[in-house]
């Protein structure tokens, strides 16, 4: 039984974590919100003035914003579709008995531990480079014209790189969920004459539904903020072909030093992320019984 004494202690021990996170979240967020209503550029100090919602009007009517919104959706949607389909297939495969399962599992999850700047630069230079890259060598060996991946299909190339990074995560979560499946149900269905596809659709897929939702929501939160991969491969280009919201706000803030515009963009990004976060929080909250 918790005594009054230990309750007081509990509040005290929780205080540092709560206060720090509160400060980390509220103070900067309030500052961003305040800046977003100012004309404020670090290159023109002293010219700060209140301009109401003008920054939002500029940001939300900027063609670059629509391009970035479209790119963000394409990037998140593309990577999600590929990692989920690939992850389900891989999880089904890794769940089967074969020789060296442990080692193959290690090989498959490895890309997750590679830092984003390394994976992006390795893919950009050593694999996708149209002259010296491995894919170009392969194409020439087959008598084909090498593709300039990041020049001709920049967004798809970034989707490919990010998919490679996140496929292990999806696979690992789905495999964990798959391993808690009741084998007897599968065997019973097989005895009753259900084919492999039937078993997949009616037993395996429903069992994975929860894991699929979790993977979708968690990946969406991380994928909305993809940044390093774009910075070191294309700098958001050519034009705005690979600029996502995160990169657009970064460029406004730290390349053009437009504090007001960057802040308005930051607030828009927060609102977009919150829409996803609400779903994820509900999901986790339901699972947490206290």
């Amino acid at each position: 039984m918790a005594t009054a004494h230990s309750r007081a202690a509990a509040r005290l021990t929780m205080a540092p974590a709560v206060v720090l996170l509160l400060g980390w979240m509220l103070i900067p967020l309030a500052m961003t919100l305040y800046f977003s209503f100012l004309r404020y550029n670090l290159l023109m100090p002293g010219s700060e003035e209140w301009i109401g919602t003008l920054n939002y009007e500029y940001f939300l009517t900027d063609p670059a914003f629509f391009a970035a919104l479209g790119n963000t959706l394409a990037l998140v949607g593309g990577v999600l579709a590929l990692t989920l389909c690939g992850g389900i297939l891989l999880a089904l495969l890794l769940d089967q008995p074969f020789w060296g399962r442990g080692i193959v599992r290690l090989l498959v999850i490895a890309p997750f531990f590679v830092m984003p700047t390394v994976s992006a630069l390795v893919w950009k230079n050593m694999l996708m480079n149209p002259v010296n890259g491995l894919f170009a060598s392969l194409a020439r060996a087959l008598g084909l014209q090498p593709i300039d991946f990041l020049g001709e299909v920049p967004l798809s190339s970034i989707v490919m790189i990010v998919t490679w990074q996140w496929l292990p995560f999806a696979t690992l979560i789905l495999l964990t969920a798959l391993q808690s499946l009741d084998r007897e149900r599968l065997e019973a269905a097989e005895m009753d004459g259900a084919g492999a596809l039937d078993r997949f659709i009616h037993i395996i897929l429903p069992h994975l539904a929860r894991a699929i939702t979790v993977v979708t929501l968690i990946q969406t939160i991380f994928l909305l903020s993809v940044f390093a991969e774009i910075l070191v491969t294309t700098n958001g280009g050519p034009g705005t072909a690979t600029t996502n919201i995160t990169y657009l706000v970064y460029a406004l803030s730290l390349l053009q030093f437009d504090v007001g515009g960057g802040s308005a963009g930051g607030i828009v990004a927060v609102v977009l992320a919150n829409i996803v976060a609400v779903f994820l929080m509900r999901m986790i909250g339901r699972n947490l019984d206290l």
């Binding site: 980390w24 500052m31 830092m115």
Partner: protein
């Protein structure tokens, strides 16, 4: 007959799984191989896989051209430092959530998690300006502070899920015997929670080591960890594939090994207990 099909099925699955595994792993393998080539061999077409003149010169070159050891140490200090500070703050908080829960505990936990979902660009400018004005820009201290805060929710959550598996009666018995709060946490709880704390530490070192938004935005030459250092290869001069590979191999290898050890905790840590 049935046995034969099972065996051949297993053989087929083995071939398929190994092929896919090697294809997925290939970029890492290729980087490691290229790091031992000369720059000329690194771009040779057709490329050679094993039959080249193995050399260690890239590793020496990467260190002598740019102080690689400095950036490696920055990564170690920032990732380990932010994790240890985070644990120091999170252990007491997780203790109270797991063993003295109140009606609000769940709300606090969920709220902590929600801070993790704040997109970094939402607070980029204030943090940048605050750091500029306090001299924390391009400092290891500044990066330790930021990474501690962004990973604190994960640390609290992971510890909380591990602590909950420890029977509260043991802690209560210690309390009855007159152990103070400090003694209860230090001498009773922590020894029982060592595996959980170790997993939490491992996962967070990995996450902090690979964090690339804040390290790229807030560091320059002095405090740059490997994530930011490697990014400097995006605008190189001359041939650089072999050197990029050597720098990358050294940056990835230690954390890949840690990752392989912690693969079981990964699921738990990254899904906040939503998938078991």
């Amino acid at each position: 007959m049935a046995r034969a099909t099972t065996a051949s099925r297993k053989l087929g699955l083995t071939l398929l799984a190994w092929t896919i595994g090697i294809v997925i792993f290939f970029p890492i393998l290729w980087t490691a191989l290229t790091s031992f080539k000369t720059e000329a061999e690194a771009i040779a077409s057709p490329p050679s896989f094993i039959a080249f003149q193995w050399t260690l010169e890239n590793y020496a070159e990467v260190q002598s051209r740019s102080d690689y050891a400095l950036h490696f140490m920055n990564s170690v200090i920032i990732s380990l430092g932010s994790t240890l500070v985070g644990l120091l703050i999170a252990v007491p908080a997780a203790w109270s959530m797991a063993f003295v829960p109140s009606r609000r505990t769940k709300d606090v936990l969920m709220w902590m998690l929600s801070t993790k979902m704040l997109p970094p660009v939402g607070v980029l400018i204030p943090i940048y300006l605050l750091f500029r004005d306090t001299g924390l820009l391009d400092s290891r201290t500044g990066l330790v502070i930021v990474l501690t805060l962004i990973n604190l929710p994960i640390i609290v959550w992971m510890l909380f899920t591990y602590f909950r598996e420890i029977p509260g009666e043991i802690l209560e018995a210690a309390r009855m015997d007159g152990a103070g709060l400090k003694a209860e946490i230090l001498y009773v709880l922590l020894p029982m929670a060592v595996p959980g704390i170790a997993s939490t530490l491992l996962l967070n070192v990995i996450l902090a080591w690979n964090e690339a938004f804040w390290t790229l935005s807030l560091s320059a030459s002095q405090s740059a960890p490997l994530t930011a250092f490697i990014a400097s290869y995006s605008s190189p001069e001359g041939l650089f594939y072999a050197k990029l590979s050597a720098a990358s191999t050294m940056a990835v290898a230690p954390i890949l090994v840690l990752g392989w050890f912690s693969q079981k905790q990964l699921v738990r840590g990254l899904t906040f207990g939503a998938v078991k």
